[in-house]
Symmetry: C2
Subunit: 233 residues, 2 copies
Amino acid sequence: MGQPLYQKVIDTIVARIGSGELLPGGMLPSEMQLAAEIGVSQGTARKALMMLEQHGIVRREQGRGSFVTARTPESSLFNFFRLRENDGTIIRPELIDEQITQRDATPIERDTLFDKPEQVYEIRRIRSLKGVASTIESAVLPAPIFAGIDRRAPLPSALYILYQQNYGCIVLRADESINAVAADADEARALNVEPGAPLLRVERLAHDILGRPIERRRSVYRTDQLSYKVTLD
Amino acid sequence: MGQPLYQKVIDTIVARIGSGELLPGGMLPSEMQLAAEIGVSQGTARKALMMLEQHGIVRREQGRGSFVTARTPESSLFNFFRLRENDGTIIRPELIDEQITQRDATPIERDTLFDKPEQVYEIRRIRSLKGVASTIESAVLPAPIFAGIDRRAPLPSALYILYQQNYGCIVLRADESINAVAADADEARALNVEPGAPLLRVERLAHDILGRPIERRRSVYRTDQLSYKVTLD
DNA sequence: GAGTGGTCTAGACCACTTT
DNA sequence: AAGTGGTCTAGACCACTCC
């Protein structure tokens, strides 16, 4: 055997999720069923399920079963939206403005997004926090994967739920690059600050359950009242 | 049994590390030895060791053994120092200036640091990246735990190695709160930027292997050439 | 009561490192 | 050759959920 048997179990389950055979929130076969199907022992199926749980791909509940991780609007939004009150309280963003366009991919977009798309959708949004316009976001998606997303406006606040429910893309990881920048004229107007005021710029590349880079996002935040909070380990 | 047996194994090992009986980098007993010592099966000792490995507390190597995680200057520094080149390359900071003082703890320091210390050490440093003064840092430590650290100046660039090797504190987790701020007069002078220029302010609370909050740190970074990079999942 | 995952054991064989 | 961790199996009992 070139690879461990539990890896075969993992691959099988991830493939079934990716193909839509297993839906987010849906129940997986039990340890015994999986073991019998794939031809391994119950302990090996168990190890695979535990590893999938560690990766956040499945959730296991004693007495009930194993389920494909369904990111709720709450968990999905706040796992990747890190702005918090200074005491750590979560805040619900509210949509102020939204534009969706389809256009040619820039060279860097084509090179960094999955499958090197020639066309992308760009979702531009301005959202408020606690009644104050606080975020400007631009999300860029490969058009082949998210076909027709421009006809779904207005989009929900939690985009990743939309990706999951309508396009089968479960976002599990995002790499972010953070800088302090001075507000330009457009940003100052949209966020109601002075030009040159310090803003937090966050550039993100989000990956789905198969590790495919499926979204580039650039966000600009006011952080005079709120903070970006993260844990390192 | 109120708690799982593997938890007993974990607690035993963590206690031995915390007490100095097991040193960072040192070898742990084998799975069989641990099982015999604590009175569990080899599989249970194995599970405990694997969980400790996931938490980054031990490292396991096939054919060699299990070892207490020794954070090298490289891994320790760059796991918690997130400034990178825009392409992700790591950068080695160099010390420009350092001051260590002992003083009364502020109320918030006393309340958030381990054991509510009345006295703290404060380490103020300015460091350069790629030849440009880029970071101002202030680390605040409980004096009872870090007794005499003020006599160790000049300190190494990787403070967490010092904490580990001389005070038995292995830093494994840090909660950070990030804001974009405008440079004040002092910061502008130290970092050679205009007053009001955007800077990244990072406030950190670092916890050791026992979960004790042992350092408050406030850093201010220039991010015009570099970026703070982090992965969310 | 039936089915699920959680814990624990005992043993086997393999791959790797060290002596 | 001896010792280590890595994989895999088979089986037991428990705690929990659902019917």
